[in-house]
């Protein structure tokens, strides 16, 4: 048994957690190095065969070309060496060059797609978290408005429908019938990107439907799990005292009930934010939205080792770091969680 939470145990605890973070990053990087290679596919050959095939070529000399490119990418090296270099490069944030987008740098590709994903999924996730959590909490709140009793099941109905279907439906309604919103894309064809209000408005308009479809479909899920926690919390004695104190309903709701029920939701939120960097392939595809999900998808389709690794590395860092922070601040989110040293 450890030394139950010394004031001076803190730095040690943080250090240990950081150590674990390093371990997670290393293990995850290794795993994601190995996984694509388990497919036994050769992305270089695939890309080249594709390129040559499309040009009506006869694939003469393809082996030679493949070999030349393999050398370029260091794929002729023994696997352990490749592994070593991958990890070493990753440490230096040098993610190398993409095979399928050769000779584009992985980092360029990722950084180009990242803002789109962050803007779309970041806001959609945040909003669906807020709305869903509030709704879910409110459904089991005794004095909540009546309409919630049928509204939340309705939201659940939406959660049952895959969000890409909702997306398609939105397009048919708002774009094809009503012609209110553009059917997709990051901005309208021909618009020249720039730092202007009109461009920001464009982006906003274009992100409305994809965001709405994610929002509509995920609110119910957030609501559901929040609801579950709220039920438990409502039985607590502090809710009785809160009432006896004559607190306003909103304060009892937010500061007492929701505040106590929210820890697992926050965990989920952190995970969801981590997942922003994997993007939402299907939404991106349906709305022609240029995010990371699609990039990763394209990378996976041809098992572009380097691009996969680049995308996943971003994921590793976001998930690893955000979970570490989360672990460290759990005692702040809920002080009952004892700040304990591991081991």
């Amino acid at each position: 048994m450890g030394c139950g939470g010394f004031g001076d145990g803190e730095p040690m605890r943080i250090l240990k957690r950081l150590g674990l973070l390093a371990l997670v990053i290393w293990l995850a990087a290794s795993l994601n190095f190995v996984l694509p290679r388990l497919t036994d596919r050769n992305p270089i050959e695939e890309v080249i065969a594709q390129a040559m095939g499309e040009s009506g070529g006869t694939m003469q000399g393809i082996d030679q070309i493949v070999a030349a490119y393999e050398a370029r990418f260091g794929m002729d090296q023994p696997l352990w060496k490749q592994y070593f270099y991958s990890i070493w490069d990753a440490l230096r944030f040098d993610l190398g060059i993409s095979i399928s987008f050769f000779p584009e740098k992985v980092s360029t590709l990722v950084l180009e797609a990242l803002p789109w994903s962050m803007a779309l999924l970041g806001t959609a996730t945040l909003f669906s978290f807020i709305i869903g959590t509030a709704l879910g909490a409110a459904t089991v709140w005794p004095t909540a408005p009546r309409f919630l009793t049928w509204f939340v099941p309705l939201v659940m109905v939406l959660a049952a429908i895959p969000f890409y279907l909702i997306g398609l439906l939105l397009i048919v309604i708002f774009s094809n019938w009503l012609n209110w919103l553009p059917s997709g894309g990051g901005y309208s064809p021909g618009t020249i990107p720039g730092y202007s209000w009109s461009f920001a408005w464009e982006i906003f308009l274009h992100s409305l439907m994809p965001a709405a479809s994610i929002l509509l479909a995920s609110i119910g899920l957030w609501a559901l799990s929040m609801r579950g926690m709220m039920v438990t919390v409502q039985g607590e004695d502090y809710m009785v005292l809160a009432k006896a104190k004559g607190l306003k309903s909103w304060r009892r709701f937010w500061r007492y009930a929701v505040r106590n029920a929210i820890t697992p939701q926050i965990t989920t939120l952190v995970l969801a934010f981590g997942n922003i960097v994997t993007g939402a392939v299907l939404v991106e595809r349906i709305f022609g939205y240029p995010g990371l999900g699609n990039l990763l998808y394209q990378a996976i389709l041809v098992v572009d080792f380097y691009l996969i690794f680049g995308c996943v590395y971003l994921l590793i860092l976001t998930i690893g770091i955000s979970l570490t922070i989360l672990d460290l601040i759990y005692p702040l989110i809920d002080p009952r969680i004892r700040a304990q040293t591991y081991g």
């Binding site: 065969a49 040009s55 009506g56 006869t58 050769f102 000779p103 397009i171 021909g190 709305f287 996976i300």
Partner: protein
């Protein structure tokens, strides 16, 4: 540089779609190097470049562009090309024989060496050397006699033809295979085309008309009316349809759902297609679809010709077309597209199809053949020998999933244990010979005479399993080797000379049941007449309507011909 981009009204802008393989982004927007293997030239950058000749595959007409003419030597071992006077690169340098020779030599060197540039190996196998005769004349010495050589590398259509690079810049490029040829600061890429990129991102590439385009200056052609081309990612069928319905785009990439095209036409009256509102709502493409057997797998049940024939009888082409095309396609027992020059050959050989009953659907025949081959019908309704059924996953090309499912079901109904398979790996699997049977098209086949398709069934083009190839039957025949060798020496226009050879080869081909051709391929490309008219159509078939479908083909030819709908 974003600030310096001028405003162009929508009615002078052409919004077209670039190749994106279903993705919502353009591939490699900042890579305009056609010869880079991962570079995607069809994303919009093709408008920078012009070929020596275009080709009208519908009429067989060769359209001179950067060049005025070519002639083949008597013995078919060299071609002399006469370039047009006054052609210029966008930086003002003249486009001349040196540039053509430089491009050739670069490819020859690469093709003989690492071979990691697009088409370099192909060029190196077909070309021996290049001579600059004078600034406007260049002579290409071939590796052997080949009357069709111009149609392989000098004339641009479908996947054929080369893209020229300016010697004065590329001579300093260290590694042309990885060179990206894009730099807004330096004004790269430098092409001869009438449009030039002003901005390139995965979301769109914007190309503006150069008012100093050489063609107008030299009096070759008027300046095109299209002042700006915006190339956006095509994404998938549904999205293409939506963009068209909402007037957000002027032309699509090739769509694979006739129903969706029909729907789009119904929703937006301004839309039209190559065949107007009539089926098949598109133009015929060069790769008729077929069910292939992989002949290289030695223990495959399809090594037995009777089994292959049983499969052929099991296929009901009309039903496929009824389901997948609402009837708007033509059953096709041939491995050829029905282009006028080829139709002549096929019409003259109908009797061979009859003889081999190659177009017939007859399940009784299937049963007879299977029993003959020693199979028995199991309780599950499958043909079995020693407990093994005949079939396995049919790897299907992504554009052919629609017919794929139907073919699979027909085969299942006929007693074959077929499984539908369309995964990201499918293409790779059958290219590498890892699948038993697959659904694909005759990519790289004939357009104007039968040789190119028949070449697919010659010994040099049969790749061992594990080596990637587009000729996925992996089948050859010594007689066909011989016949093709003979045909290759005959100029394509000599129909009478080629026909008997063709008939002989096809007799063997049908007799051996090499594969089961299914249907014609169509490019379904809705075009929007709100801003632009004079789109290519059946009545005015000046070029295929799909602007970005082809790896080397027409590219900028179509925009040159567009006429504004609103003045």
């Amino acid at each position: 540089s974003a600030q310096s981009i001028k405003d162009v009204p929508r009615e002078r802008t052409l919004v077209q779609m670039g190749w994106s393989q279903g993705a919502p982004t353009l591939k490699t927007p900042r890579n305009a190097n056609y010869y880079n293997l991962a570079g995607e030239y069809r994303n919009g950058h093709m408008h920078h470049f012009e070929p020596l000749f275009f080709f009208n595959n519908f009429t067989g007409e060769v359209i001179p562009w950067l060049a005025e003419s070519f002639e083949m030597s008597e013995d078919n071992t060299s071609v002399t090309v006469h370039l047009r006077d006054g052609a210029k690169w966008s930086d003002g340098e003249a486009f001349d024989a040196e540039d053509v020779a430089f491009t050739y030599n670069m490819l020859l060197e690469n093709g003989r060496g690492t071979g990691d540039m697009r088409k370099s190996v192909e060029v190196a196998t077909q070309v021996d050397s290049v001579e600059v005769i004078d600034p406007l004349t260049v002579k290409v010495n071939l590796a052997g006699p080949d009357p069709r050589y111009p149609f392989r590398q000098l004339i641009n259509y479908f996947g054929h033809g080369l893209v020229w690079v300016p010697e004065h810049i590329w001579k300093d490029v260290e590694d042309p295979a990885t060179f990206t040829w894009y730099d807004e600061e330096k004004g790269w890429p430098i092409g001869t085309g009438a449009w030039k990129a002003v901005s390139a991102a995965p979301e769109q590439i914007i190309l503006d008309r150069r008012d100093d385009w050489w063609g107008a200056e030299a009096g070759f052609r008027d300046l095109p009316a299209v002042e700006r081309i915006v190339s956006i990612p095509a994404s998938d069928n549904t999205r293409m349809a939506e963009l068209m319905i909402n007037n957000e785009a002027d032309a699509t990439m090739s769509m694979s759902s006739p129903a969706l095209v029909e729907r789009a036409l119904a929703q937006n009256e301004a839309l039209t297609t190559f065949t107007g509102n009539e089926p098949p709502l598109g133009n015929m493409d060069w790769w008729p679809h077929a069910l292939y057997f992989n002949h290289a797998i030695e223990d495959s049940p399809f090594q037995d010709k009777r089994v292959r024939e049983a499969v052929r009888f099991a296929i009901d082409r009309q039903q496929i077309i009824d389901f997948a095309w609402d009837g708007a396609n033509t059953p096709n027992p041939w491995p050829y597209p029905a282009y006028a020059p080829l139709v002549k050959y096929m019409e003259a050989s109908e009797d061979i199809v009859e003889k081999h009953r190659a177009a017939e659907h007859n399940l009784d025949e299937t049963a007879r053949l299977m029993e003959e081959a020693g199979y028995e019908m199991s309780d599950d309704g499958l043909w079995e020998k020693e407990g093994e059924c005949v079939g396995g996953p049919i790897e299907t090309h992504q554009n052919l999933a629609g017919i794929g499912q139907i073919i699979v079901q027909q085969l299942i109904n006929a007693g074959f244990c077929a499984e539908f398979s369309q995964t990201p790996e499918s293409f790779d699997k059958f290219r590498n010979g890892e699948s038993v049977w697959h659904i694909f098209g005759h990519n790289g086949g004939s357009v104007f005479d039968p040789v190119d398709t028949l070449r697919m069934y010659t010994t040099p083009n049969v790749m061992p399993i594990g080596t990637s190839t587009m000729f996925v039957a992996r089948w050859s025949h010594p007689e066909i080797d011989r016949l093709v060798a003979e045909m290759q020496t005959i100029p394509p226009e000599n129909f009478d000379e080629i026909l008997p050879l063709f008939r002989e080869a096809m007799d063997i081909w049908f007799g051996e049941v090499v594969e089961v051709p299914i249907e014609q391929a169509y490019h379904l490309v809705p075009m929007n007449t709100t801003y632009w008219t004079n789109w290519p159509s059946e009545d005015n078939p000046y070029t295929p309507p799909c602007i970005s479908c082809f790896i080397s083909g027409w590219g900028s030819y179509l925009p040159h011909n567009l006429v504004p709908a609103q003045s």
